[in-house]
């Protein structure tokens, strides 16, 4: 593939990333809320399910925007939320912080 096409794709993806930033920030905020609820031992089922869905979506798309580590962390969050245990839920807050850090350059 020629460099011109590569640059064109990169530019288009960067534009899409900017367009989707508000939605991404909302998703991150919800994951933070889920992590906070989990830390206090009060994670509501509705929050858990929504957070799992969001983590799944982020696992699937952050990598294509150039944030593969973000995809990895989101995938870990998804699996934690899918089959939570008290021990695993205690790690959500750390994972949520790692997720934000992994994509901080683009926020």
């Amino acid at each position: 593939m020629d460099k011109k096409t590569e640059a064109k794709v990169d530019d288009l993806i960067a534009s899409l990333w900017k367009k989707n930033l508000p939605s991404l920030r909302e998703r991150l905020n919800l994951l933070d809320r889920a992590a906070a609820e989990a830390s206090s031992g009060a994670l509501a089922e509705a929050t858990r399910a929504e957070a799992q869905s969001i983590a799944h979506k982020l696992a699937g798309n952050l990598g294509m925007f150039g944030y593969p580590q973000g995809s990895e962390v989101a995938s870990k969050m998804e699996h934690t939320l899918k089959a939570p245990t008290p021990e695993s839920l205690a790690t959500l807050a750390t994972l949520a912080k790692q997720l934000r850090k992994s994509i901080s350059a683009g926020l």
Partner: protein
């Protein structure tokens, strides 16, 4: 020009896949945000291939595929499933469906077209599929 139908409920995935395939391969892209909408478009437009998400609300990818297989007018269209990286058991389940291939998310926008071409045996630079024969 090849035409690809992308079926995914996630806007980001549809948009990135579409711009990637248009820019890198020059393919014409059709999109649908659900299995039901995808079936309608497949029936009307007869794409050369379908790239379909596995996890979708209402009707998921494997179920949509099974429905498509029951209609002879679209059963011949090659289908690639798009899914998060999965373990061996899930891979075998998908392979047993009879789809033509599986692609994993997150995909690389710069190589997606080549991955699709490799799975379907499309040679880069090969002529477009021949037009359908005129009915007599």
């Amino acid at each position: 020009m090849r035409r690809i139908l992308i079926i995914d409920d996630e806007d980001d995935i549809r948009e990135v896949a579409a711009l990637s395939l248009e820019a890198t391969a020059g393919w014409q892209i059709l999109t649908a945000n659900s299995g039901a909408a995808g079936i309608e478009i497949a029936l009307a437009q007869q794409p050369d291939a379908i790239l379909m998400d596995v996890m979708m609300p209402d009707v998921d990818g494997p179920t949509t595929f099974r429905i498509m297989q029951q209609d002879p007018t679209i059963a011949h269209i090659p289908v690639l499933l798009l899914t998060a990286k999965v373990q061996g058991v899930d891979q075998r389940r998908f392979a047993g469906l009879g789809v033509n291939g599986i692609l994993f998310k997150p995909f690389d926008p710069l190589t997606l077209a080549q991955q699709i071409s490799d799975i379907l045996g499309w040679k880069e630079g090969s002529p477009d599929p021949p037009p359908p024969l005129p009915s007599t």
